[in-house]
């Protein structure tokens, strides 16, 4: 008899560079980074939890891969600029992320003529 093999999802080291200091946590490939941080006691900004309002925005410091497909509005231009929405992003590699980038991302979207929820906040 062959037993089904349960494949555990991979997990990655995610370093969060916050205004209060750096934190490195393990985040599974099936987890949203914001939730994993919250479970680790790291409180990051967020509001809509749908990958839309940009409140959870971070920016990659260095290369890395992630899956943003759970976001309701994450644009190719965002990816090119290195922005990441932590409430809906799932890691696909180790990542180093500067958090609290909501103002910068909203400014980026406005300057690029793209939708900018809570513009100016």
């Amino acid at each position: 008899m062959r037993y089904p093999v349960r494949v555990q999802p991979e997990s990655f080291n995610i370093t969060l560079v916050t205004p209060e200091g750096e934190h490195t946590i393990r985040v599974g490939s099936d987890q949203h980074i914001w939730e994993a941080a919250a479970a680790a006691g790291i409180r990051l900004p967020a509001m809509c939890h749908m990958g839309h309002c940009l409140t959870c925005a971070g920016q990659l410091e260095g290369p890395g891969e992630f899956d943003p497909s759970d976001a309701r509005q994450y644009l190719p231009q965002d990816r090119a600029a290195g922005y990441i929405l932590l409430c809906t992003a799932k890691p696909r590699s180790d990542l180093r992320i500067r958090t609290h980038q909501q103002r910068a991302m909203r400014r980026f979207r406005l300057d690029a003529g793209l939708p900018a929820p809570y513009a100016g906040v």
């Binding site: 509001m47 809509c48 749908m50 839309h52 309002c53 939708p115 809570y118 906040v121």
Partner: protein, 204 residues
């Protein structure tokens, strides 16, 4: 500092109603922008798109009526909060597309496929976004700006009720499980018990 020290008698360029809340720690400029984003979510992301969702609930006249209640109450929220934006010294964007694009919640666009379960889930998540958005306003204004807090709390009350409705409906439609909202029926559709603006005065 008192409001009397800030605003000179007869000065129509400043508002005591704004200076008193600024003196109590409210970031008025930020509050205006957040109210405009929330107003965008009420009018554009929900009221407009819920009109389309409602049209695709044929055969589910019960779901259709609840969707209609939520739609009209979200319109009431929009109408309730717009005057406050102007009272605070703000204004709506003079461009509907720009207004839509700064809305704090995603547009509730018709899902594919437009099944009742998919529509109900979309309605549910839209209400959840609204709850998150309005409680931020409550947090910003509690104890500092009684008027905005009152308006935001009224809206929040109804959004929480909306979430309960759609949990009940989705749990039954998709999972055949009973998760009661615990609510009695509204009166007429759009009665909006917490938030409806005063109706037009009809003499006689």
């Amino acid at each position: 500092m008192t409001a009397k020290d800030v605003v000179k008698a007869g000065d129509v360029t400043k508002r005591v109603g704004v200076e008193v809340i600024r003196a109590r720690g409210v970031d008025v400029d930020k509050l205006i922008k957040m109210l405009i984003a929330n107003a965008g979510a009420e009018f554009a992301s929900t009221y407009y798109y819920y009109t389309i969702l409602r049209m695709h609930l044929a055969g589910h006249e019960d779901y259709k009526e609840i969707c209609e209640d939520a739609r009209l109450e979200d319109r009431a929220h929009w109408e309730l909060i717009v005057p406050r934006i102007y009272e605070l010294g703000g204004e709506l964007p003079n461009d509907l597309v720009a207004f839509h694009n700064q809305a704090g919640c995603p547009a509730a666009k018709l899902p594919d496929p437009p099944t009742a379960a998919n529509i109900l889930q979309l309605l549910l998540e839209s209400e959840r976004c609204a709850i998150r958005s309005w409680i931020e306003i409550c947090d910003m204004t509690f104890g500092k700006d009684p008027r905005t807090y009152d308006l935001a709390a009224r809206i929040l009350n109804e959004e929480i009720e909306h979430e309960a409705w759609f949990i009940e409906l989705l749990a039954w439609e998709r999972d055949k499980k009973s998760v009661p909202s615990g609510h009695f029926r509204r009166g007429e559709p759009g009665d909006a018990p917490y938030s409806k603006n005063r109706p037009f005065y009809i003499p006689g």
